[in-house]
Amino acid sequence: MTHGAPPSFPHRHLLGIEGLTRPEIEGLLDRADAAVDISRQIEKKRVTLRGRTQINLFFEPSTRTQSSFELAGKRLGADVMNMSVASSSVKKGETLIDTAATLNAMRPDIIVVRHQSAGAVHLLARKVDCSVVNAGDGAHEHPTQALLDALTIRRNKGRIEGLQVAICGDVLHSRVARSNIISLQALGARVRVIGPSTLLPAGIERFGVEVFTNMREGLRDCDIVMMLRLQRERMNGSFVPSVKEYFRYYGLDGDKLALAKPDALVMHPGPMNRGVEIASDIADGAQSLIREQVEMGVAVRMAVLEALASHLPNE
């Protein structure tokens, strides 16, 4: 499924963007470009992972990421099993390590893991023999989201190098923001973060980003406006006073978007809170890439699974 030979991917797991080199990230994006073409054909099935078992282990519910990984695995020919926490023994007190050991004994080839705690996926990866893909660990990393965002930007802007990207909203709790900051900087973009100080992590300025607490100032001259989801439990007085006030100062509406470059593009990792962090007309408007991000998600996950497949044992 590749045009030319993509550079080999030297890692057994994909646990984060941190630790990947620029050529490795770009290699994954190249593979993903090819996977987009596959997904747009009628015959979408490949044999790269034929006979392989992929387990999607989700400790946090996520319809879209889980189904995206499921489709990606199936299009590459893998047998995919979804395990979600509600139906597992984790609720009965089994530890993450026990779960890992149990699954490992079933000899899967790839485990895709989402967990509510930062570092949980690393912990699990140390206890199993197969490849592990991080589908989001706490507020730490969500590498495939960053890759699909990079792919979406690259296909629409033709490049990432030199672009001005603003990441807006609840950066504090966001693994998407962390992975994107690392990835976009590695690919040569300049990154700003915008949000109220209660939603910005300590020491964020030392990530090499520009920090804005005034969204109108922060959006000036941006090529990409990336919005983050604000969790419902953080809206009412704990981190921000109210939805109304948040939308007024940090919600993306037409007025604020007009301050960015005229050809600025809008992104959101989903699921969106319309009227909280983004106005409906912007989410559905001509500058929005939000639906395309979902398509790129499947492609990027196919690329990642394929790249890791080269490390799977063959006999």
């Binding site: 941190e18 530890t95 967990h115 705690s117 690393h122 912990l123 706490g138 962390r178 300590a202 020491g203």
Partner: protein, 436 residues
């Protein structure tokens, strides 16, 4: 029948209470130090055993003011027997056990229970600290007078701070009448929130929620205001950051009855040791930045910090082999207290006599014990230290029932090779011979 007299010769004596360091010999008889000879050894008394110390350091046994023991209630993590065995092999001859047991040490009967169990099963001195508030609930004072009479040496809510300012004020006021010592875990829980490590760039990169230094300094400043108001003896159990050092320094300069300790972990480790989510480095107070570590080391050298504690907190697999944010706080420490603390001597940060003082005479003074000095008549609680002995720590060799040591596989230099409690040998490395 008391054991035969024991003469320890050819030692480098460190008496931290007197600030003396000299070659000499110590004669132990009937559980006490009978005589100290500077320079060449005196004649061996009839029937005495002898140990040739070969120039190693002989000091008072270490006094650890903060150890969590699982007895009663969590004996699978640690018992008084296992904690004391770990202590002995680490050169600790007295440990103060925290009241966070089940049931809580908040009444004379439970103090009595701990003392009896210690007498029957422990090989080092065990001094119980009792709770400040009943059930550690932070509301009602315990019986300071009766608890002291039954043997409690200090009052603390252990892992928890006394957060209610009115409760703290009354506790300090009442404690003053009894000369009781209040030891506070200086951490404002609301500012800790969901935090699990030092707040800053590193926590942000790991995606973990940070604990600001202000969680410590806010509580410490409040408490010191209350000490000023009440005049009670107050000991901040562990401080971890540069700002706290300045707060304590000012309180001492103002003549307030304030002392403070530091965990050995905060002296020799920093937040970077968490690496990729090592839960054995999840501690309370958290490991701080390198600048904070250097500040507490300086404060120890200058005497602003009085005491080094192990903060020994045994945890097991089901509380530690978890994602970082879900794991329990705490690390083993009593057995590695000396070896870890000696790093500061080897790096040239602190002289050996000062380090020993913070592990012996410092806590003895605060607890008003007669141990912690090298003088005729003092209890023969002694440790012979080989300060240069190099080794790689193997957690399987630890005597504790738990294995959560942040120093597992660490290179350490310096260890206790002989430990005496009341003149009785409770730990002896194979290379130390006792001649009849």
């Amino acid at each position: 029948m008391s054991p035969r007299p024991l003469l320890l010769t050819q030692a480098r004596l460190i008496d931290p209470a007197a600030g003396r360091e000299a070659p000499g010999a110590v004669l132990v008889r009937d559980g006490r130090i009978a005589d100290i000879a500077q320079g060449s050894a005196p004649g061996t008394p009839d029937g005495a055993e002898t140990v040739d110390c070969g120039g190693l350091v002989l000091a008072p046994g270490l006094i650890d003011m903060r150890a969590f023991v699982g007895e009663p209630g969590a004996e699978h993590r640690e018992t008084l027997a296992s904690a004391s065995a770990a202590a002995a092999s680490g050169g600790v001859t007295t440990l103060v056990c925290m009241p966070d047991t089940n049931p809580v040490i908040d009444g004379p009967a439970i103090v009595d229970f701990v003392l009896r169990r210690a007498r029957d099963t422990a090989c080092v001195n065990v001094l119980p600290a009792a709770a400040v508030t009943k059930g550690l609930a932070g509301r009602e004072m315990t019986e300071f007078g009766l608890l002291q009479e039954s043997g409690a040496v200090a009052f603390t809510d252990g892992l928890k701070a006394v957060t209610n300012a009115q409760v703290m004020r009354r506790a300090l006021t009442y404690a003053r009448d009894f000369g009781a010592l209040i030891m506070q875990h200086v951490e404002e829980p609301d500012l800790v929130g969901e935090g699990v490590m030092n707040e800053g760039e590193l926590a942000s990169r790991l995606g973990l929620i940070g604990i600001p230094r202000e969680a410590e300094t806010v509580m410490l400043e409040r408490d010191i205001r209350l000490v000023r108001l009440t005049g009670a003896r107050y000991h901040a159990a562990m401080i971890s950051c540069a700002d706290s050092v300045e707060i304590v320094r000012r309180a001492k300069a103002d003549g307030l009855p304030v002392t403070c300790g530091v965990s050995v972990n905060n002296l020799v480790l920093n937040e970077g040791d968490i690496g990729h989510y090592r839960t054995f480095c999840r501690l309370s107070p958290p490991l701080r930045a390198e600048a904070d570590r250097q500040a507490v080391v300086s404060a120890l050298r200058e005497g602003v910090i009085d005491v080094i504690v192990s903060d020994h907190n045994p945890q097991d697999v089901e509380t530690k082999r978890l994602p970082f944010a879900e794991a329990a706080d705490g690390a083993l420490g009593i057995e590695t207290l000396l070896g870890a603390a000696l790093r500061l001597v080897h790096t040239g940060d602190i002289g050996l006599p000062r380090l020993i003082a913070a592990l012996t005479a410092g806590p003895a003074g605060i607890l008003r014990r007669e141990a912690g000095r090298l003088a005729a008549g003092a209890p023969a609680d002694l440790v012979l230290i080989d300060p240069d002995l190099p080794y790689v720590l193997d957690k399987r060799a630890l005597k504790s029932r738990s294995k959560n040591s942040p120093f597992d596989e660490a290179r350490l230099q310096g260890a206790a090779v002989l430990t005496l409690v009341g003149g009785r040998i409770v730990h002896r490395a194979p290379e130390i011979a006792v001649a009849a």
